[in-house]
């Protein structure tokens, strides 16, 4: 069969309308006949070109337009279509600001709470009554310290009572008054090591020592540590009312 006679066969081949056997035979013919192979290739080119003529025409029109118009690069209103960043990247600055606001707000709220507690603590912080008897002309530093304490001269009281407490370390009452003097001087860190052992010792001093230790801890912002001490004092005849006032 001449190449001219194979037109419909080529078309059937290109359109996939052949059985497996016909396909095998025809491909063998193409392999053996360069003229037929060339004709098949031409038919394929014409098929592809005519089926996509609209694209070639569009390309031609566009080429003519592109040759005439000079473009000035500018995003204009269209920048958003070229944003490569992910959702997370786009929102990261906003998330950071939000996190900063939340943590700042939390900190400020906590700070306000601490200030309010401190103000309440200050309002109930009073000196412990002097229950140690000294005559007015007693020469010892303990007596001098307690005189200063009674006069509310706490720096002076601290000076004498420190010496007296060192001289008689087995007297817990001097430790307690020294600690209270420190508290009234707003030096809770110094009062704390004096008060802690007292909460475990003399029963007479245990209750006031617990109260002042609780105050001392609250002054330092150690609310969690102070809570069990305040709980224990909630029903106390002397300190119960103060505890409730501190807790607001």
């Amino acid at each position: 069969m001449s190449v001219e006679q194979t037109q419909d066969t080529i078309q059937a081949y290109l359109e996939g309308r052949m059985s497996a056997e016909e396909l095998r035979n025809f491909e063998a013919q193409i392999q053996a006949d360069p003229a037929l192979a060339e004709e098949v290739h031409r038919c394929r080119q014409l098929r592809v070109m005519t089926r996509h003529e609209h694209l070639l025409q569009g390309k031609q029109t566009l080429a003519a337009v592109m040759a005439e118009i000079d473009i000035t690069p500018d995003y204009g209103q269209h920048r958003r279509y070229f944003d490569h960043s992910s959702w997370f990247q786009r929102w990261l600055p906003g998330l950071l600001v939000l996190a900063a606001l939340v943590s700042g707000g939390t900190w400020y709220y906590g700070y306000q709470q601490r200030q309010q507690t401190l103000a309440r603590v200050q309002s109930v912080l009073e000196p412990l009554d002097n229950i140690i008897g000294f005559s007015p002309d007693d020469p010892g530093s303990a007596a001098a310290g307690m005189r200063a304490y009674d006069q509310r001269n706490y720096p002076e009281a601290i000076r004498y009572l420190s010496t007296a407490a060192q001289e008689s370390q087995d007297d817990p009452s001097l430790q307690l008054y020294l600690a209270v003097s420190y508290l009234l001087q707003q030096e809770p860190a110094r009062a704390e090591p004096l008060l802690r052992p007292l909460t475990q010792t003399d029963a007479l001093l245990t209750v006031p020592a617990r109260w002042y230790l609780a105050v001392c801890l609250l002054q330092q912002g150690k609310k969690t540590e102070a809570t069990p001490l305040l709980d224990a004092l909630e029903e106390d005849v002397v300190y119960g009312e103060k505890v409730r006032r501190v807790r607001g």
């Binding site: 190449v3 001219e4 006679q5 037109q7 419909d8 078309q11 290109l14 359109e15 004709e39 290739h41 031409r42 038919c43 394929r44 080119q45 014409l46 098929r47 592809v48 070109m49 005519t50 089926r51 996509h52 003529e53 609209h54 694209l55 070639l56 025409q57 569009g58 390309k59 031609q60 029109t61 566009l62 080429a63 003519a64 337009v65 592109m66 118009i69 473009i71 000035t72 690069p73 500018d74 995003y75 204009g76 269209h78 920048r79 279509y81 070229f82 490569h84």
Partner: protein, 186 residues
Amino acid sequence: MMTDRQIYMGLRQNDRATTEYIYKTLAPPLFKYVLSNNGSREEAKDLFQETFIKVLKRIHNDQYNDLDKFEAYFLTIARNTWIDHLKSKKNKVLVDPDDQLWQRADDSDEEALLQLVLHDRRMEALHAVWETWEDTICRRMLHQFHYERTRTKDIAEAENVPQNTILQRLFKCRSKLFRLVQQRLQ
């Protein structure tokens, strides 16, 4: 300003004013994007052309239905095409311009088809000759056979001539056309 519907219809009809409008409106952001991403002006033009052909193909294949968002549709395709281009830039394999490319395009391989439409000299020459070919009888017959897929027997019946005559004419017309293509390529 053109509506999306007007753009859609204009592109279907290969309307020059529509093409001009799209180029004037969408080329500036696309050029800016390419130049801002280490691309050249030539690459920007190629990208616009490739995007345009892709969109055109989808419109003709009825794959573009969202008539309200042409601008977003076009620029998203452009952006994705550019990202693919950057990814494949280092190890780009040029397609061998032989019969395989045509075969792949004939088998609906979009990449091969784009390669032919955008860059193949033989396709360009074939189309250019075809567009200006004055032998309208040959042109009509080849169109009937290759595009409309009319069988030679049916063409012969319609023309009231023997089928053999049609077979010979088709062969001669095709030979004539490809001689002109060959001349153009030389």
